[in-house]
Symmetry: C3
Subunit: 142 residues, 3 copies
């Protein structure tokens, strides 16, 4: 018995998709990030949060969330690892991914926290991969 | 001169294999983890340990190792980086991979330690990739 | 709208290239590392540093940099994440990659610092991928 894999092309597209998607988020390009979701896509950055539905709502939630950094010169980088894809019956894909948030302030050392798991449903359309839904769970909450 | 690469399909299969294999381990699905080894596969989680040989012995070793966490609400995630594959003369592949162990307890911050190197011999059979042997070395021991 | 991706084969080659390139660097095989650059390739490990141009100069710069570790039993591992490739008009590729440096000393815990971004220009020639230029920016400097 071994693991189930998806096609090489799909896996490469998803890996590249995540690289660009998360560099857009970390660069503050929230509209580019939102555009990586389907038009009715949902984004829930923690189980307690209400999901933002639709690109406009996703941008609004990101703007709101980042207000806490308004006077805080901070750089944040979302690292991903072990992208595991599983085909769904509806033609989409479940994607389960480890994530760590790296936070750096001027002259400081990186703070690497929290450890999360990203639970995505991805769709592959003509133009490429899009996120239909994203729920992020946090490892220290249990 | 550049580096030697393996086929795109093999590299994608190995990357996906590791994602599922390590998510199985970190979820406590030890039988699924053991099933990613060949029937006579060996698993040696540190150079001092005796290698566990065969799937049953691998499960037993994992159960034994995790007894230390019986009363410790802990989540562990094994991160991998820089999977370097080199073909062997016997048709298998040497795989050398960086690893970090992320450990989280309720309300706490991730502890990221130790830093390791995974030395695998992988085989690619009809059903997919399997681990024939795994030796993990630890960076702080030298 | 989704993200722009490059071909599956190119992306796989680049990923494998980075795995071997950085394992060479971290193993102290500086000539192997320098050989992953084009003959006139440039390597600038921080914006303040002068770029080393050409393989011989790259080796010399690495030897010079590592003198600080002469009496310091240290292991360093450069982790990469989110390799984002964008085609250039000249046929080369811009590659933007997150990087963290993991440093371990005997008996100690990993120090994970600094957080960087690698800005590469990569070329794909008959023999494989090579780095034409590399500039590393540091997140804590801003």
């Amino acid at each position: 018995m071994s693991v189930t894999t998806v096609s090489t092309d799909l896996y490469s597209e998803v890996t590249q998709f995540y690289a660009h998607q998360m560099q857009a988020l970390d660069s503050g390009r929230f509209e580019d990030y939102a555009a990586t979701f389907t038009p009715d896509g949902t984004f829930q950055h923690s189980p307690q949060a209400d999901p933002a539905a639709g690109r406009e709502a996703i941008v609004a939630e990101l703007v709101r969330f980042h207000e806490r950094f308004a006077d805080d010169p901070v750089r944040r980088r979302h690292w991903f690892n072990h992208v595991a894809l599983t085909p769904r019956e509806d033609g989409a894909f479940d994607s389960t991914v480890y994530a760590l948030v790296v936070t750096v302030r001027p002259g400081g050392k990186p703070d690497i926290s929290p450890s999360c798991v990203v639970h995505d449903v991805l769709v592959r359309e003509e133009g490429g991969v899009l996120t239909r839904s994203r729920l992020v769970t946090h490892d220290q909450v249990f």
